[in-house]
Symmetry: C2
Subunit: 148 residues, 2 copies
């Protein structure tokens, strides 16, 4: 897991005539050090711990590069800020979110995936990805009456 991500980013940059820089290395490290579903702002905070002088715009720009290179993916865009999650060595999955406490469960359901493929075929579309979010009450919140 060591420098794989770095190599991927370097390869992506090189293939487009872009440059690997200290700032991009910082943002990558910050992002890799965080867990799933981080906002650009959270990455910015983490990056400033590594390099206090880094600019916010650079973080936004670099996150976009991470997404383009396949290292990050947009997880959701619900409340205000976008959130990103690791995409390398982190297989596709969908999200189940508790509307009360915000807990997020990641899951993959073969039946859903299969049924989605059938929908693509039904309408003659070529699949290029999907976003599924299930909302509900988690066991804890529903046992505590829903209104804590």
């Amino acid at each position: 897991m060591s420098g794989d991500e770095r190599s991927i980013l370097e390869g992506y940059l090189k293939s487009r005539g872009l440059k690997m820089t200290k700032a991009r290395d910082t943002v990558l490290a910050a992002f890799l050090g965080l867990e799933s579903h981080v906002s650009a702002d959270a990455v910015y905070e983490a990056a400033r711990l590594i390099d206090p002088g880094i600019g916010q715009a650079t973080v936004f720009r670099t996150i976009k590069l991470l997404a383009d290179s396949g290292l990050a993916r947009e997880a959701c865009r619900d409340e205000g800020a976008r959130r990103y999650e690791h995409a390398y060595n982190h297989a596709h999955h969908d999200h189940l979110r508790c509307v009360q406490c915000g807990a997020v469960v990641e899951f993959v359901d073969p039946d859903i995936e299969r049924a989605q493929e059938a929908v693509y075929q039904r309408f003659g579309f070529k699949s290029s990805g999907h976003r599924l979010e299930l909302f509900g009450l988690c066991p804890q919140c529903s046992s505590s009456g829903g209104q804590p």
Copy 2:
């Protein structure tokens, strides 16, 4: 279909001690006169045709009321502005969007719905809704090579 929506809105407002106003009537009429997946700005434009003096803030506020009263629902929140669709007499459905031309197909798939219920059970969640968007290339765009 006549004044049902108006009655619903009135009932909702009354139940909360809120008032039915000319402006809210205007926004409701504007929204009902538009087809699916409208932005707040589109509703604002339509409302100004009915009452040129209406304020943008009022449109935003009223759309929120429409959503709370069950007349509108947030369809997606992808590119910048939120989009709303009719929720009254307009059953639940999911969206299949062409990433090339933006065409949107609304569909309902019983298999997907059923499989989602199974996921809720698997994790002990109580269902309260979901959002599913499938992305892909529509038949026209994929036959024209994908890059028009």
